[in-house]
Amino acid sequence: MIVLDRLLVGGIRFVLDKLAAAAEAELNDDTSLREQLLAAQMRHELGELSDTEFAELESVLLARLREIRERQRQGTPDMKDARVTGVEIEFGGQDPDDR
C-alpha cells in the first residue's frame, strides 16, 4: 500500500513539477512570444494581416516581451525556484484493502 501511495504521490508530484516548469516557461521564457511575433510578421508580409491589425498584435506581443525582460532584470523570484514540497491527497471512497 505504502509502495502504491509513494508511486501515486511521486507520479502526481512529477506532473506538478512539469506544470510548474510549463508555467515558468510561459511566464519567463520569451521563445514562444518571439515565435508568435515572427508568425505575425510573416502573416503581415503575406498580406494576411493589415497594417493596423499587425500593429495592434505587435504592440501586445512586444508589451508582453517587455514585461518578461523587466521581470528578468528585477530578478523577481521566478517559478524555477518554486518547489513542490508536499502533496495532500484525500480519498473519497473506502480503500478496497481495508475491507
Binding site: E35, L38, A39, Q41, M42, R43, E45, L46
Partner: protein, 651 residues
C-alpha cells in the same frame, strides 16, 4: 560577336546544298528574325531558301516549360505528395510559380523534342552568349539530378508499398523519372559525341572577346565537348590607303589573334572579313555563308609596329555626361545590351570616372555576367570578394560575382536551418525521416535555374538594402549585366524570387504547429522584405537607371529597341542610351562604315544619346579607361531635336 549572323548563314548554306535544316535560337533575347529579315516565333517558320528546306524558330522558354510541365504535372504532383509532407494544394502552388532563368533548363529539352519531332538532317543552334551557354551545357546533369530527386521522393512510397504488399509495380511517376534521366543521359551523350555535335565558337579579334573565348572553349573541352572551329569574325580587310584608324585596328586585331592561337593551339581558326555593314537578309547571309565554308580564307594579319600611347593626363573637370549616367540620388545603375557591344568597358569607364570626380561616393562595380570581363578590362585580378581598385578611386570596390560560390555559402547557411526543421518535425517521435532528409539534401544540392540572376540580385540587395542589423554598405552599385535576355531576367528576379519566398513562408506558417518556426522562417522573412524593397527601388527612376549600351548597327539597335520596350513594360527608366564604338576614321572604308552607322542611328528613339568612340587598341587598365571616358560625348543637340520632332509627328 556575330553569333546569330554566323548561325543563320551556316544554316542557309547547308540548306541550299540540299539538306533539311532546323535553325533554332535559344538566346532569350532573339536576334535570329532580324538577321534573316523574317519575323519568327515559337513555331517553325519556313525560310525561302533556293534549295533544300530551312525552318527557323525563336524558342519561347516560358511556353516550353509550361508545355513540358503540363504533360508531366500529374506524375510530378504525385511524386511530390508521396515524398513530402505537402498536400496537393501546396504542390500545385509551387508548380504554378514561374521559374527564374528557365531558358537553360528547357532550352536543351526543347531542342531535343523539336529535333526528334521534325527529323531534320541538321539542327543549327544560335545559343545565348558565353556564360549562359556554359550553363545550358550543364543542364543534362541537372536534369539527371532532378530525376534523382523525384526518384528519392518515390523511394519512400516504393519501400512502404513493397513491405506491405510484397511487390512493386512501377507507375507513371517512375516513367517520368526514367524519361528525365534518359533524356539527360542522351543529351549529354549527344553533346559529347563529335560525330553528331559540333561547336563553332564565334569571336572578335579584340582582347576581351579573345579572353572570353579562351575561357569558354576551355570550359567546353573540360565538359567533354568538341569545339570544331573558331570563327574570328569582322576582321578589318587590308587597306591601300594610309588610314591611321584602319592601321591601328589591324595591328590590334593581329595581336589579339596571336594571343588566341598561342593559347588555344589545337583549334582551327577561320578568319572572316568585316563587311561595310552588318549582313542582314538572305542575300547578305549567302555571301557570309561562302566565307564560312570556303577552304582558304584570305586574311593577312598586320605586322606594323605598335604606336606609343599618349601619356595619361588626369581630366580636371567632370565630363558633361556624368550627371546623366549617375544622377545625384542614383543607387543602382545597370549597363545592359547585346553580347559584344562593350558593356563591360562602358560600365568600368563610367564607374571609374565617377569615383575619380566624386571620391566620397561609396561605389561597388559588380560584374553579373557569368562570362566575366571586368578583371580583363581593369587589368587587375578580381574575384567574388569586393576588391579595391588601384588608382585614385578611394570609394570604389569591384567584384566578379561567382554565383556557384555564393550559392554554396547560402546553402550551408540553410542546411543547418533545414536540419533544425527536421529535428523539430521529429520532436518526440521515434521515426527518422531518412527518405525525406535525403530528398531535402539532394534538393539543396541542386543549383536553382537562373542561379546567376538570383545571386546577382541577392548581392545587390545585401549591399544596398539596409537590414535590421546593418546599414547599406554602398551608396551606389554599378552593374555590368549579362547580355540583354539575361539582364531582363535579372530585373524581373526580385518579383519572381519573392513569389517563391512567400510561398515558402506560407508553407512554414501552415505547418507551424508541427515544425515550429525557426531560423529558416526568420531568414525567409528578411529575404522577402529585402526583395520587396529592392523591387521598389528598381522602379524609382531617380534611384535606378538602366543604361542600354548599343552599337550603330542593325542587330544591336533592333535589340535595343526591344530592350527599351521591355524596360518600359517593367516600369523601369532608361533615359540615356550609350552608343559604343562609333567609327571615326577618314579613309573610304571608314567613311562608308561611318555613313552606315549614321543611317542606323537615325532610327534610335528620342532618348539622350551618349557616344563613345572606337579606339585601338581597346582600352585596358584604369588610365586608358578614364582617358576614354573623357572622349565620350553627347549627340549633337540638333540631331536629337530632329528626332524628337519626328517622334512627335509619328505620334
Amino acid at each position: 560577336m556575330g553569333k546569330t549572323t554566323c548561325a543563320a548563314a551556316t544554316a542557309l548554306h547547308l540548306a541550299e546544298r540540299g539538306a533539311h535544316v532546323l535553325l533554332i535560337s535559344t538566346d532569350p533575347a532573339h536576334s535570329l528574325g532580324d538577321a534573316l529579315a523574317v519575323p519568327l516565333g515559337d513555331r517553325a517558320t519556313r525560310i525561302p531558301s533556293r534549295a533544300g528546306r530551312l525552318q527557323a524558330v525563336e524558342l519561347d522558354a516560358d511556353a516550353a516549360l509550361a508545355r513540358w510541365l503540363n504533360e508531366r504535372r500529374g506524375a510530378l504532383r504525385l511524386a511530390a505528395s508521396r515524398g513530402t509532407y505537402l498536400d496537393d494544394q501546396d504542390i500545385d502552388q509551387f508548380l504554378d510559380l514561374s521559374v527564374p532563368g528557365v531558358d537553360e533548363l528547357v532550352g536543351l529539352l526543347e531542342l531535343h523534342r523539336r529535333a526528334t519531332a521534325a527529323r531534320p538532317d541538321v539542327v543549327v543552334v544560335d545559343t545565348a552568349p558565353t556564360g549562359h551557354t556554359l550553363r545550358l551545357l550543364s543542364m543534362p546533369r541537372t536534369l539527371r539530378n532532378l530525376a534523382a530527386i523525384f526518384s528519392g521522393m518515390q523511394e519512400k512510397h516504393r519501400v512502404v508499398t513493397e513491405s506491405l504488399r510484397g511487390w512493386w509495380q512501377p507507375d507513371n511517376v517512375d516513367a517520368v523519372v526514367e524519361e528525365m534521366d534518359e533524356h539527360g543521359r542522351a543529351l549529354l551523350e549527344l553533346l559529347q559525341d563529335p560525330t553528331r555535335c559540333a561547336f563553332r565558337w564565334v569571336a572578335l579579334a579584340e582582347p576581351l572577346s579573345v579572353e572570353e573565348s579562351i575561357d569558354g572553349v576551355t570550359a567546353l573541352r573540360q565538359g567533354g565537348i568538341t569545339v570544331e572551329e573558331l570563327i574570328l569574325n569582322r576582321l578589318t580587310p587590308p587597306t591601300t590607303s594610309r588610314c591611321a584608324t584602319c592601321t591601328a585596328r589591324r595591328r590590334s586585331e593581329a595581336e589579339a589573334a596571336e594571343v588566341l592561337t598561342a593559347r588555344l593551339p589545337n583549334i582551327t581558326v577561320r578568319p572572316v572579313l568585316a563587311l561595310d555593314d552588318e549582313p542582314r537578309g538572305l542575300n547578305a547571309l549567302r555571301k557570309l555563308g561562302r566565307a564560312l565554308t570556303t577552304t582558304r580564307p584570305r586574311w593577312e594579319p598586320a605586322r606594323s609596329p605598335r604606336a606609343t600611347p599618349a601619356p595619361f593626363q588626369r581630366p580636371r573637370h567632370p565630363p558633361t555626361w556624368l550627371g546623366l549616367v549617375f544622377p545625384p540620388r542614383a543607387q543602382l545603375v545597370l549597363f545592359a545590351g547585346k553580347g559584344g557591344v562593350g558593356k563591360t568597358t562602358c560600365a568600368a569607364t563610367a564607374a571609374l570616372t565617377l569615383c575619380l570626380h566624386q571620391p566620397q561616393r561609396r561605389v561597388l562595380l559588380l560584374s553579373a555576367d557569368p562570362a566575366h570581363s571586368l578583371a580583363d578590362v581593369l587589368d587587375v585580378p578580381l574575384d567574388d570578394h569586393e576588391r579595391p581598385i588601384p588608382g585614385p578611386f578611394p570609394g570604389l570596390r569591384a567584384r566578379e560575382l561567382d554565383a556557384d560560390r555564393a550559392f554554396r555559402v547560402r546553402r550551408e547557411r540553410y542546411r543547418h536551418a533545414v536540419d533544425e526543421l527536421f529535428d523539430g518535425l521529429l520532436r518526440g517521435s521515434r521515426l527518422d525521416a531518412t527518405y525525406d532528409r535525403a530528398v531535402m539534401q539532394d534538393l539543396m544540392d541542386l543549383a536553382p535555374p537562373g542561379i546567376d540572376e538570383l545571386f546577382a540580385i541577392l548581392s545587390v540587395m545585401d549591399v544596398l538594402v539596409p537590414s535590421a542589423t546593418e546599414t547599406a554598405r554602398y551608396d551606389l552599385v554599378v552593374v555590368d549585366a549579362a547580355p540583354t535576355g539575361h539582364a531582363l531576367r535579372l530585373l524581373q528576379m526580385p518579383e519572381v524570387a519573392q513569389e517563391w519566398v512567400r510561398a515558402l513562408l506560407a508553407i512554414l506558417l501552415k505547418y507551424r504547429e508541427v515544425v515550429g518556426l525557426g531560423r529558416l522562417a526568420e531568414d525567409l522573412l528578411e529575404l522577402a522584405r529585402g526583395l520587396r524593397v529592392l523591387g521598389q527601388l528598381l522602379r524609382q527612376p531617380e534611384r535606378t537607371q538602366v543604361i542600354p549600351v548599343t552599337r550603330a548597327a542593325e542587330l544591336p539597335l533592333a535589340e535595343t529597341e526591344r530592350l527599351l520596350q521591355r524596360l518600359h513594360a517593367l516600369g523601369m527608366s532608361a533615359p540615356t542610351l550609350l552608343v559604343n564604338a562609333v567609327a571615326s576614321g577618314g579613309c573610304p572604308r571608314c567613311r562608308r562604315t561611318g555613313a552606315a552607322q549614321h543611317a542606323h542611328l537615325q532610327r534610335l528613339p528620342s532618348a539622350t544619346e551618349l557616344r563613345a568612340p572606337q579606339v585601338f587598341p581597346p582600352p585596358r587598365g584604369w588610365e586608358a579607361l578614364v582617358s576614354l571616358g573623357a572622349q565620350w560625348s553627347l549627340a549633337p543637340a540638333e540631331r536629337l531635336a530632329g528626332r524628337a520632332r519626328r517622334a512627335v509627328r509619328e505620334r
